[in-house]
């Protein structure tokens, strides 16, 4: 055959190495440059929440900590990529250098003053407008109750419905599914006006229950479909044998199938909770007086108050507001990634 030539193995080896390194570093540079502007605002939020309001050092603390973060990132990437499996000492040195830099350049300028609202019940001491603002604890309790209530309504109503749609053959099943799919894709935010009017007629305007029920209803189609796909994936065999062993379909559902879709229940419950925790438009529109404030409203009002706004306080409230979301997300991530909608995994 034509191509009997002796390859220059050494040159090929060099080319391969350069090609691999070039590819990897190009991708890494791309990702890093793209992601840095995303990270800095969050870092700023953190720095702001830990520096005194009006401290001229705040900005330089931000850039210093950004620099240290970049250094740590570069060090970690270098250790993992360039030198293969770096020894524990190398990691320890990197950690020490970073901790040292933080202690020298950043820590001296930090303060916990902005978080004083957490332990001071006195509202005036929090810097927010005392005539309008309840304490952040009340807002947090409202948000928590709101989110939990919504979570319970959504999961308790969606689970049996999803099971029925997944497992029961009944007249109108496909029609019901199609209807639900339309509702799922329905521009729910466009209903704000109608919801407002309807709740007014029902006397539920200004009531946390009204918003909760509306939000639950809007969440339901999505939740039912996600849960349905979990029920679809649960094996039929165990349920069939439960039924032949003498269980009713409801008993089979409660004792055999429901435990199998626990990851799905956790995932949809997490979603419902987060949606309730962060909701802004509906609570803003439907809770007219400022008696009941959720965290989102609280934060928005605090931030809108441009007259002598305490940015440090806002940042601290923001961090506290974000924290449960991140914690919840980290703990339920493995369930959320199992979610499946319409054949597309997300």
């Amino acid at each position: 055959m034509a191509m009997i030539s002796i390859p220059d193995w050494a040159a090929l080896e060099r080319r391969g190495l350069l090609g691999r390194l070039g590819f990897l570093s190009a991708v890494l540079v791309f990702l890093t440059v793209l992601t840095l502007p995303l990270v800095i605002p969050y870092l700023w939020l953190l720095v702001k929440s830990f520096t005194a309001e009006g401290d001229p050092m705040a900005m330089s603390v931000l850039w210093r900590s950004a620099g240290i973060a970049v250094l740590g990132y570069a060090g970690a990437v270098g250790l993992t990529l360039v030198s293969g499996r770096a020894p524990a000492q190398a990691w320890a040195v990197l950690g020490l250098v970073l901790a040292g830099l933080l202690a020298l350049l950043v820590v001296p300028h930090l303060t916990l003053e902005n978080y004083r609202f957490l332990w001071t019940r006195d509202i005036e001491a929090t810097g927010a407008r005392s005539d309008m603002m309840p304490s952040i604890w009340e807002a947090m309790a409202t948000s928590l109750a709101f989110a939990l209530g919504q979570t319970i309504i959504v999961t308790v109503t969606a689970a049996p419905a999803a099971y029925a749609l997944s497992r029961f053959a009944f007249v109108g099943r496909e029609t019901a599914l199609r209807g639900l799919l339309i509702l799922h894709a329905f521009p729910a935010l466009a209903l704000t006006v109608a919801v407002f009017v309807q709740l007014w007629f029902m006397g539920l305007l200004n009531s946390i229950w009204g918003v909760m029920l509306v939000m639950s209803a809007l969440e339901l189609p999505f939740t039912i479909f996600v849960l349905k796909s979990f029920f679809d994936a649960a094996p039929w065999d165990t349920e069939m044998s439960a039924v032949t062993d003498g269980a009713t379909r409801f008993q089979a559902f409660r004792m055999i199938v429901l435990p199998q879709v626990l990851p799905g229940l956790i995932a949809v419950a997490t979603f419902a909770f987060l949606r309730g925790w962060e909701e802004y438009v509906f609570v803003q529109t439907l809770l007219l007086d400022n008696e009941t404030l959720t965290m989102s409203l609280y934060l928005f009002f605090v931030a809108q108050d441009s007259m002598g706004a305490d940015y440090g306080l806002i940042a601290a409230v923001g961090v506290i507001y974000l924290l449960p979301v991140l914690v919840l997300y980290i703990f339920t991530q493995k369930y959320i990634t199992q979610m499946n909608f319409g054949g597309i995994k997300g």
Binding site: A164, F170, R173, P187, V193, F196, V197, P221, W277, S296
Partner: protein, 333 residues
Amino acid sequence: MMSSSWTASKADTLPCDAPGLSGRPNSRVIFMHTAYRRPRPTRPILFLAPAIAVLAVFFLGPILVNTVIAFTDMGATLQIDGFSLGNFQRIVQRDMRLPGILLTTLVYVASTLLLFNVTLGASLAVATSAVPERLGNLFRGLWLLPRMSPAVLYGILWIWIVDPTGAGLLNQVTGALGLPQMNLRNDHPLMLIVVINGVVGASFAMIILTSAIRSIPAHLADAARVDGASEWSVLRHVTLPALWAPVRFITMYQVLSLLTTYEYILIITGGGPVYDSTPYALYIYRRAFENGAYGYGAALALGLMVIGVVITLLQWRLTNMRDTFAAPKIEVL
């Protein structure tokens, strides 16, 4: 009634346990199917009732209310004086803002979708899949931050970034580079809302495309490498072709969500200055709640609902819904 019918079914199931049938798992189902044609609709209804009740009152209810008040001139007093087609006449003939709003919507949806939700999302998926696993997870986690952040917090961050004074984060950077100060909220509001929604929207495509990339058989990339492809060629010839189908799904899905959501815009620019960053969905909200024209807002919303339903139906034509509608395997209730 339930218990008596159950004893009957128990007796009927017995033959299934006969040794000749037990080896064939399907025989049981077929048998039940023939034995239980009698429909008993009570039980599915029991399972569905709570969901149906909530949906009927708080989802279908508002749709109905919306349809009704779209034909009234309901204002801030919430009084209904009579029904007419006045709102629709106004939409078609007299609303001077509407053409501009529609153009804004088109620009906003198209550029957010193309630049961010698809292009940025796909780039992130490809790049995070090309680096070592843990690093990829780190970057994906970071890009999920905006989506996880509560809308108000995300909004405040942006308000701080684009703050027109020297204290704004962006102006800190431009100041350091010797560039003039910027006031994006006033000067480029449309661009701003595209970026704001795009940064959140990109993670949707990122997640879906990442799992699409992961489901490419590993041997396909190996085969390409053995065939002489560099890593870039593997991306080009193996990874990219696998992304077309999910990208189509993402496009359809995100067009709808971009058309109908306005939360971030409401928080960050409020749709302003004037109506410069007000897409259609926010326009409905502003007309209804800023001007107290509930009837007119409902009429505008009706239009959006029709568009939403049409897009959903289109989506059904493009994606395979067979699995979703697949019949259950136990036909007895």
